[in-house]
Amino acid sequence: MSWNLNNDKPIYAQIVERIQRQIISGFYKAGDKLPSVRDFAADAGVNPNTMQKAFVELERSGLIVTVRTSGRTVTEDEGLILAVKTEIAKEQVQDFLLKMKEFGFSSKEILDLLNALLKEERE
């Protein structure tokens, strides 16, 4: 299936992560209606109960809301989305910093490397 899920770990956590990413990257915008649990499950090739569990988790975090008549939508709260986005970004940077420190890079070296690479991208 196109979702590239890792069978060694619990699936629902991976699904939560993936949908979070889709929301913060703008694939699903604030207020967008989401496909049903079953359609999502069919697309991902996962058990609908697992997909349901992931949705419940996302609802708990507030990223997804259930509207009684029209199903599930992404939250309208852009602030929340931004907060989640920032949180995830922070985690990624922290992981990156940890790895770089393991390789033996100092903070200054890391910053210089980042600037150089970003400059390259601009050109």
């Binding site: 069978n7 060694d8 359609d39 069919a42 090739g45 058990n47 609908p48 109960n49 697992t50």
Partner: protein, 233 residues
């Protein structure tokens, strides 16, 4: 609340020495997709045949919705056998008519939709179709019933990967939370993501009955890897 399927001390032996299935105690609740996993000759097929009333237990009981396998249980169980069990001369249309005639819960419209989306002509006979297409049709017939229990014996074996994806999608799309589905298979990697629970059977005995997520957390590996460990030769 009684379970959808209940095996109580279920045993089957063909000869005095060999127990195909021995003292199985299993409970299956509704709303789950369960993988029945085990090597060849482990007793999976024997268990499946007993669920479907194709084999009589030597000892113990098996109950489906409280009924012993018989006319009442067969109304509620939709079975996809491993082999091609439909006569090759038959046309798809005649099979649809047959299922509609004998099963009250058969949803012909749903079956038609699925068959049309595959661009299959209902007037074609099965013998004109490839193996993959035949498997899909057999699956469509079985999944178009509104049964309480679906039993699929090796639904994706011997079929190309694209057809496998289709079959898995069909199983998920037709999932009914009021029903349960048992899949017996060797191809665990392809299917483990759609399973809620797994039942592992070895030498006719149940080795494990656990939820997939629990298993993954507990063992830190996929069901497929765990299976290989448990059944290593």
């Amino acid at each position: 609340m009684s379970s959808l399927v209940e095996c109580i001390g279920l045993s089957k032996s063909y000869t005095a020495q060999k127990m195909a299935v021995s003292s199985l105690n299993i409970k299956i609740e509704k709303g789950h997709i369960i993988g029945l996993l085990g090597p060849n000759g482990s007793g999976k097929t024997t268990l499946i045949k007993m669920i479907n009333g194709l084999l009589t237990p030597t000892e113990g009981e098996i109950l489906i919705n409280g009924y012993a396998p018989g006319v009442e249980s067969k109304k509620k169980v939709s079975y996809l056998p491993e082999k091609t069990y439909l006569s090759a001369q038959k046309t798809v249309q005649s099979l649809l008519d047959f299922f509609e005639e004998f099963y009250d819960d058969f949803d012909k419209e749903r079956a038609y939709k699925m068959i049309e989306s595959l661009k299959i002509n209902p007037e074609d006979a099965l013998k004109t179709m490839s193996k993959g297409t035949k498997e899909k049709i057999q699956l469509i017939l079985v999944m178009s019933r509104n049964a309480d229990l679906y039993v699929l014996d090796e639904p994706i074996a011997g079929v190309d990967p694209a057809a496998r994806d289709y079959i898995i999608k069909t199983i998920i799309s037709n999932f009914n939370p009021e029903a349960s589905l048992i899949i017996s298979t060797h191809l665990i990697t392809d299917i483990e993501n759609i399973l809620d629970e797994v039942i592992l059977i070895k030498d006719g005995m149940m080795v494990e009955h656990a939820s997939v997520e629990e298993l993954r957390e507990r063992e830190g590996k996929s069901v497929d890897s765990y299976f290989r460990e448990v059944f290593a030769c």
